[in-house]
Assembly symmetry: C2
Homo-oligomer: 654 residues x 2
Amino acid sequence: MGINSNRVEHFSDPSCPEATVTMPPPLELHRVCLPPHKTTLQKFRDRVSEIFFPDDPLHRFKNQTWIRKLVLGLQFFFPVFQWGPSYGLNLLRSDIISGLTIASLAIPQGISYAKLANLPPIIGLYSSFVPPLIYSVLGSSRHLGVGPVSIASLVMGTMLSETVSYSEQPILYLQLAFTATFFAGVFQASLGLLRLGFIIDFLSKATLVGFMAGAAIIVSLQQLKGLLGIVHFTSKMQIVPVLLSVFRQKNEWSWQTIVMGTSFLVFLLTARKISMRKPKLFWISAAAPLTSVILSTILVYLLRSKLHGVSTIGHLPKGLNPPSSNMLYFCGPFLGVAIKTGLITGILSLTEGIAVGRTFAALKNYQVDGNKEMMAIGLMNMAGSCSSCYVTTGSFSRSAVNYNAGAQTVVSNVIMAATVLVTLLFLMPLFSYTPSFILAAIIITAVIGLIDYQAAIRLWKVDKLDFVACLCSFLGVLFISVPLGLAIAVGVSVFKILLHVTRPNTVVLGNIPGTQIYQNLSRYREASRVPSFLILAVESPIYFANSTYLQERILRWVREEEERVDSNKESAMKCIILDMTAVTAIDTSGIDTICELRKMLEKRSLQFVLANPVGTVMEKLHQSNVLQSFGLNGLYLTVGEAVADISSPWKANP
Amino acid sequence: MGINSNRVEHFSDPSCPEATVTMPPPLELHRVCLPPHKTTLQKFRDRVSEIFFPDDPLHRFKNQTWIRKLVLGLQFFFPVFQWGPSYGLNLLRSDIISGLTIASLAIPQGISYAKLANLPPIIGLYSSFVPPLIYSVLGSSRHLGVGPVSIASLVMGTMLSETVSYSEQPILYLQLAFTATFFAGVFQASLGLLRLGFIIDFLSKATLVGFMAGAAIIVSLQQLKGLLGIVHFTSKMQIVPVLLSVFRQKNEWSWQTIVMGTSFLVFLLTARKISMRKPKLFWISAAAPLTSVILSTILVYLLRSKLHGVSTIGHLPKGLNPPSSNMLYFCGPFLGVAIKTGLITGILSLTEGIAVGRTFAALKNYQVDGNKEMMAIGLMNMAGSCSSCYVTTGSFSRSAVNYNAGAQTVVSNVIMAATVLVTLLFLMPLFSYTPSFILAAIIITAVIGLIDYQAAIRLWKVDKLDFVACLCSFLGVLFISVPLGLAIAVGVSVFKILLHVTRPNTVVLGNIPGTQIYQNLSRYREASRVPSFLILAVESPIYFANSTYLQERILRWVREEEERVDSNKESAMKCIILDMTAVTAIDTSGIDTICELRKMLEKRSLQFVLANPVGTVMEKLHQSNVLQSFGLNGLYLTVGEAVADISSPWKANP
């Protein structure tokens, strides 16, 4: 297709009648180009660089001196060298305030979440000491509040309890918990190192909404054990056994526990509600847990002779984290359980930590490198497993309090760790009378916020398939199990992608008069059909998964058009144009389909042309020698040019 | 966006100078429409009808009388009523010739393939009698030659032999084979009934090329047992055990078997080569197997006193298929094996049968309804399992011979069945001296044709990922196992789809001067950037799987454009246009990404607009209230209109 001759367009202008000149309309056609030639190796290199380095992380290093590159490299791996030199007293002031605020949340949450994972409560405090320190050196998010989280604690407790009982074999259970944490850290750091971070993108937000809601309900129902004072409780995690366990053990309900527990729960929920209504009073919901712990401890201490059947935390050892690398369990029958638990808790905690980091980075308009964060969180967990900590990450509640309290850098985590240190060294005896029901109340208040029904409603309104994924995730967690519920939800999400590819949209295009614009006929009233032409657009790549369908569908469009033309006595169809703008890729099955369509339509004396193929599609058509069969006038740059070029001989010789 | 005022375009025409009039360029903008409103139920119904009834099978029934609808319905379910009334003597003549031709192929192939499945050879003959008769009533393909096939026989033999030994428990083995055939039939008929036929589209041609080649190599190597006369042979199906078994049992090699087997093998391969070079001599390769069977039987009979160690088929019982519904095994420890085997052989035989049917239908320009064929093949197998037949389908070699011999309708299958009937009733004693090596030679000749290295080379040239899928399938079958090799290949194909979605192409567009065409800058030399604009196109739906990547990538494009503009001292970038023509779908994660991009770019004082969103995307943007944040001038019908509208105030007030 070359340039035949220039075309000059004149539209009639009522205000300037002498400008209307009727000229013969010659055509200006543009040639459809192949993309610039690249060798297979170049293409492979480009593809790998797009997959693994989409943000071009080395762009800062260009055109720099050696020393600068060294400094940039050091800052890249240890972000502390980036903000460290510019740290000042005003930043320190903000960080101290926020650090103390999140510490008041960290202490009760740490104790509660460790109990959620069936671990000794002191482990929760250890996990709020070492991991934040590691993160402050390696992490890039300025507002992330690091420590144990409810979902990962729940999942760890569930999965380990299926095989090992924490009451009968506490040492083995602890070993497996640390080993699972180690493997979680290894997995997270590998994902970051190999730049495979996009894997966690498959846990879409819709999936997580359902998953978190289901897990929150399970956790809350399980806390009824602590709130009602039940001793014998199921260790299962599905909703039916838990509800049965609650209502069958009515004889074990302790009214004192119920009364006190419920009142503190109401207090905590009210504090949370106040903070949600008036964001400036965030410190109320931040201070409420620690206040409740202190008040309830005092209450139980004063009434200790009268209260029977109120279980307390018990004695907590003083002192720093003991090293635990000797407790890591690398050979034996339970290694598989530890690895599996580590994998699932690793993925979940990573997803939460990255999502929280990105949320607050977007609010304050800075970027967080996902892969770097994964390495930081992974190394944090690996180091934690060797110092008596279990799986930690950036928790949403803690980070929100951190952000609202005005944190400026990660030093707020350091301040929090220091406060926890002081607690560990000196304040441990104060917790011996802390009742279990307060921990249950704190957990319930914390997870209630994970039930985001507004997000679910929005999903229903906007995208029904996303809502189905959310629902599958929710029901799967409630009725089957946590890992399977997640797997089902990911499966539904992948199925959505495959369904869109397997049954793509095909539309008939019409011309908007007076323009070269071709749009969907059923959508734009002003678009009208072009006589003797059938213009189709396929809205998806043409793959093995949909090539048979597309062939049948296009033939059906042809048949329906023939019937319509017959019944309306219009001019017979002569040419079918396939608009390939949205056909973003093609494979060998797709190429075969296009060839077969051309042959079939040729047997019916119908011309079949392609318009606007994208670069890769054009290349594959060329390499498979299909272009030759289409010939010079089978490929056009736009639908408009195709219509003009093909219909011009008809107008010349009607 | 309404219509501001009409624009009149004048291009300078050197041949008509007085026609050049300079007018102020007002703009004609078109409004971006929402698609026509449909309720959720309507949308669901449309979607279901597209997924399950893409070819609108009931279109023939429209506007017909009751009696006509009844006749059409009868013809739909029993195609024999369609071609039956117009059957004539000339058609019968062609069908008799082709029927006899394929019978001469069916008899040796049936016996050989049954041995491949470790079944008594007579089962192969039974399977060439009843199934073709059933197919001739229900099937729609006019050229399909029905009977046992090599791949399904191989897979059945492999999978059943893993659990049950055919030499030690022959009755149980036979029971499981019939049960597997029954389940294969049930599965195939259900796929057809539920119109889930698109599932077999996931076995792409690339996958099957590798799979068939690997299976053919395994089958050929296994036939070395028969050709070399080895008695003790491995029952494993991977290439390494088979090769070891061949070369370790050198002491069992029988030179007589080797000499005779190799000569007949050479004869058969030569006949095949001749038929390939000169297609008119197809009858040579059709008659060669039966000729070899007759010649070798005569040879072994004449030399029977001198030939020791040449194993023969042995005694074959006379008579028709005995009923075998009592042999179906529905409860017991091996039911799982039977179901699994039935599933896999069902899928494989279905894929082959449908592919063969479609190939020949395309050659003769008629349509084969995939789902109807699946039901026919399924019912054929179900009936076969109750009459001592095992898994059958349309085989490629038999159908090719059928087509070349001039078959006109399925009556050729009836003629073939009649010939097999005569053989079963009268000619069985003739086969008692038929040696095993001839069956091995026949099998090797038959499967050699499945190794399509030219297709593999073409895959490498056109689509490297398709070649990788082919290679994975090939190596998986050779080294791991047949079902796993297939599963790996399907996994690679699905991975290809996910990779394209997870890392889509993004390109920068430029204007081809003098037109409203915007094309990829790196591909079209004549396209040039528009000053102050950055025009990006995303070539994929915006899903959860790629929204984070797209956000980073677009921000990287913005950063690189800013650097380029700075270094080239061009006019600063003010507006980013995202061409959404190829964004064929969006979900909630994608919508969130677009919102976040808009906010981030707004903070940098950059305008962000969308151009040409497809119907579903527009609808979701509307339902999620994102359109309101974009406002009236954030959405345009084409890139050209966006550029013209946004840059007009700049020209007015530079």
